[in-house]
Amino acid sequence: MSYAVKNLAQGSRELIAFRIGDQEFCVNIMSVREIRGWTPATPMPHAPPYVMGIINLRGAVLPIVDLSARLGMQEAEPTARHVIIVAQVKSRIVGLLVEAVSDILTITEENIQPVPEISSDLEKQYARGILAIDKRMICMIELDALFPEKESEAA
């Protein structure tokens, strides 16, 4: 944690950028525990459509979330080229299925632009800012907002 604090003090922070379909997103690197390849998940009964199932992460049971479906986009059809971002969300560990990890970004607060006024509630819920880097648009998302404790209980 001291690492994050240090970076913030200098006004910069590190993010991991990844690709889903033709869009790019990023999350705070501090919440990412590891990145691993796709392995078939065991589907869960009574699960919401974005929960792909659970896998074995060195002895622990890890739920895999299709981030594309969770963000309201098309459901993913995972291939061996897909990756799982293992992220810490509050007290839980969740695997996020994405198409590819594209970048590690070091940014300062000035790089972050506010999310434009849009009508969709879903995007407003998770989007925390927009980055413009090399003419790309990268949406910064807040995992805690995406998986509130209540939500997964409702699942």
């Binding site: 998940a41 009574h46 739920p63 560990i93």
Partner: protein, 764 residues
């Protein structure tokens, strides 16, 4: 190890002693009059007092002392432990527990309560019975206490005040016993001069002399002539010698045996002497023999002290670790004797068993281990099991014949892993006793608060279950006990009006049943008022006003969220966070709870919990392409259904006939939403299961893969509870498989025709 750590150990021991104390008192309360029980109670308070003294916990010492004094009256038979006396004592035990915890964690104790109890205890010690009702205990207690304490040792300054026990100033005179009888023997003169080697080999002259004192009456003189001035003294040299005259009936050889191991390292002369010559050979004045100061082993001293003090009482109180075996035998003997008296055979046997177990526990060597370390070990062993399974699988894949030496070795490895796993699990298994004991205090306190008379009967408290289960059991159980006392049992007046014993009984039972632990909480109260429950449920919008519910369903409404039938909200229970919370915490443990009630006769709550939260024997099956594990304990039999045995029943139900009885068929794939249409039963396998709610069901699966022990992995840690699924596990190929919650699946199938959503949510 610093002081705080030692203190922490003391507090841990206090907890054990308090548990011992309470269980002893409860046994006395049930009419057990085994002296060993009284002694155990006494020892518990005494040890707490001793430890507290060492740490300067004055409040604790003061109270424990008064308590101990009164207990001593019981021990010496001056005070009959009747119901009234024991009530005071149980309260005192509670206060003692409070004092211990306040000494540990800070916080305050209800001082007026403490003072009140001190007065009551002192009154008891002085032979006054509690004012409430002083009629039922016979009164040998009226005798002044001091008169009843005999002082068998003449020469000892007897440290006895009128309470009968005052342990601090202490003279060791345990050897005095040998002095009393007049010895008609011969006198031997012994000259014992140890050499330097004797000390360097770790022998100790004092111990040899003490052993010698056991041979007969002796007087001893130390010859210090050889002792040089301090500046010339070699601290490792031996300078002393002793002249001892021993008067004994035993032979010279017996004296020599004492020095057997030191023979080569000392000059020893033993010769027969008559009275005259002994005088002649002892120019120095013989000193009366008192070796008390030599004995510095505190625990032995402690026990001897007690034995000494109560020499007129049973020998058992001198119990030290070495003598525990005797006390076990004694307990067993007591059981045998009691068993002859038929009326209390069962209770006494149980008591003796407890005694024996307690004695055995204190005799066996134990260590304290940090729970985290055990958990780590258990996790590692869990991984080992998975790893071993993966290894087996890949060997089997590569070696189809199964005869190679690798295969043989692997089989052995499998057995070893299993044994390791069992042993590790056994480390965590603990009797439910501590939790049950806590409940008796709660019953006492709550009953006092609401003015009811309630007796808690516990059964099967030695039933062992995993530590994690025990830890998590206390909270829901407390809640239920409070509920039972507050709502379940009626007031004494109402009970009498109903023709019942004004004293209500709550029975708490634990037993093992088919790989689970079953805990029953039974009260003999009014039972559930179904009309009121129903009305309340309608008022709270839990059910529709015209809902048609069976008695059983109404009873189970009390587990719904936000349900409380207490007309007025009391301090004790009825805050509206009632049984639904209990139910949820039981479910979080992988357990189930149900209630049955008979109006006028009381209610019974039945909880069924897994014995361990770590491993499970399961049958691995395939359902709609998915691998599932069905707990083996649930399965009664497996069968391949024939088309002729399947009968359609109504629109969607199917029954299977098994030996002329019809059993509903449950398609697991449908219940878990793996497939949308019902599978053809003839193509699959039926698992006949027995569920908690009673009744059998045939679960349809596609195929059976095999049977194996699986390590249970929590789904809740990273995900959430899934209805119909108990947990997950990792199979040999490293993939995750789900463990079926048979009872939930059965309940879901039962509810499907009625109200699928609710029963899934409520029972999952």
């Amino acid at each position: 190890m610093d002081m705080n750590e030692i203190k922490e150990i003391f507090f841990q021991e206090c907890e054990e002693q308090l548990a011992e104390l309470e269980s002893g008192l409860l046994k006395l309360n049930d009419g057990d009059r085994d002296p060993e029980t009284v002694n155990a109670v006494f020892r518990a308070v005494h040890s707490i007092k001793g430890g507290a003294g060492a740490f300067g916990l004055d409040d604790l010492v003061a109270f424990a002392h008064v308590f101990e004094t009164t207990l001593d009256c019981v021990r010496s038979g001056k005070l009959e432990p009747g119901q009234d006396v024991l009530k005071v004592m149980l309260k005192s035990a509670d206060v003692l527990a409070d004092l211990v915890s306040s000494s540990r964690d800070g916080g305050s104790v209800d001082e007026s309560r403490t003072r009140g109890l001190v007065k009551e205890l002192e009154a008891l010690a002085h032979g006054e019975l509690p004012s409430a009702s002083g009629h039922d205990a016979p009164k040998p207690a009226a005798k002044p206490a001091a008169a009843a304490a005999p002082a068998p040792k003449a020469e000892t300054p007897k440290p006895t005040d009128d309470s009968g026990f005052q342990p601090i100033p202490f003279t060791f005179d345990g050897f005095g016993q040998e002095e009393e009888p007049v010895i008609e023997g011969s006198t031997y003169e012994v000259v014992f001069k140890p050499r330097r080697e004797l000390y360097s080999k770790g022998n100790e002259a004092a111990l040899l002399l003490r052993d010698l004192s056991r041979v007969g009456e002796m007087s001893i003189a130390c010859d210090t002539d050889a002792l040089p001035d301090l500046d010339k003294m070699d601290p490792e040299e031996s300078y002393f010698s002793w002249k001892i005259s021993v008067k004994t009936t035993k032979s010279e050889d017996d004296i020599r045996i004492v020095f057997e191991f030191a023979e080569w390292d000392c000059d020893l002369e033993v010769k027969f002497a008559d009275e005259a010559s002994s005088d002649e050979e002892q120019p120095m004045r013989p000193v009366p023999f008192d070796l008390s100061i030599l004995d510095d082993a505190p625990s032995a001293e402690d026990d001897d002290k007690q034995a000494e003090h109560g020499a007129d009482q049973t020998v058992a109180e001198a119990v030290s670790a070495a003598e525990t075996a005797t006390s076990v035998a004694k307990a067993a003997g007591a059981a045998a004797r009691a068993a002859e008296r038929k009326e209390s055979a069962a209770a006494a046997a149980a008591a003796a068993q407890n005694n024996a177990a307690a004695a055995a526990a204190s005799a066996g060597q134990t260590i304290r281990v940090d729970l985290d370390r055990v958990d780590r070990l258990i996790n590692l062993v869990g991984e080992l099991v998975i790893n071993q399974a993966m290894l087996s699988q890949s060997v089997i894949e590569n070696d189809a014949t199964g005869t190679s030496s690798i295969n043989m070795g692997l089989e052995e490895l499998q057995q070893l892993t299993r044994e390791i796993q069992d042993s590790v699990m056994a480390i965590r298994a603990q009797p439910v006793k501590p939790v049950f004991q806590r409940m008796s205090r709660i019953v006492r306190e709550v009953a006092d608060m609401v003015g009811k008379q309630i007796r808690l009967v516990t059964e099967g408290e030695n039933t062992e279950v995993d530590k994690t289960v025990i830890d998590k059991l206390a909270e829901p159980l407390t809640h239920m006990i409070r509920n039972a006392v507050d709502h379940g049992i009626e007031s004494p007046e109402k009970r009498e009006a109903a023709g019942k014993n004004p004293e209500g009984t709550i029975k708490l039972t634990a037993k093992h049943r088919s790989g689970r632990i079953l805990i029953e909480l039974q009260d003999d109260g009014a039972g559930i008022n179904r009309e009121r429950v129903r009305q309340k449920a309608i008022d709270n919008d839990i059910i529709a006003a015209d809902a048609n519910l069976s008695d059983d369903e109404i009873d189970n409404l009390i587990f719904m969220a936000g349900f409380s039938t207490a007309d007025k909200i009391s301090d004790i229970s009825g805050r509206g966070v009632g049984m639904d919370v209990v139910k949820r915490s039981i479910q979080a443990l992988g357990g189930r709870i149900s209630i049955s009630s008979r109006p006028g006769f009381g209610s019974t709550f039945t909880m069924s919990l897994p014995l361990t939260l770590a491993v499970l024997d399961g049958m691995v099956v395939t359902v709609a392409g998915q691998t599932l594990v069905v707990p083996l304990t649930a399965i009664v039999e497996t069968l391949q259904p024939e088309a002729s045995a399947i009968h359609s029943f109504g629109a969607s139900q199917r029954l299977i006939s098994i030996r002329n009885s019809f059993c509903p068929l449950v398609d697991v794939g449908r219940v878990l939403n793996y497939r949308s249409t019902q599978a053809n039963p003839v193509e699959g396998v039926a698992l006949l299961v027995e569920s908690e709610g009673g009744g059998q069901r045939a679960l349809m699966v596609d195929a059976i893969q095999g049977q194996r022990q699986v390590v249970i992995k929590s789904l809740e840690a990273n995900y959430t509870h899934v209805p119909g699924i108990a947990a997950a596990t990792i199979l040999g190929d490293g993939r995750v498989a789900l463990i079926l919650d048979v009872d939930a699946v059965v309940a879901a199938s039962r509810g499907q025709s009625l109200r699928p959503e609710m029963s899934l949510a409520a029972t999952g």
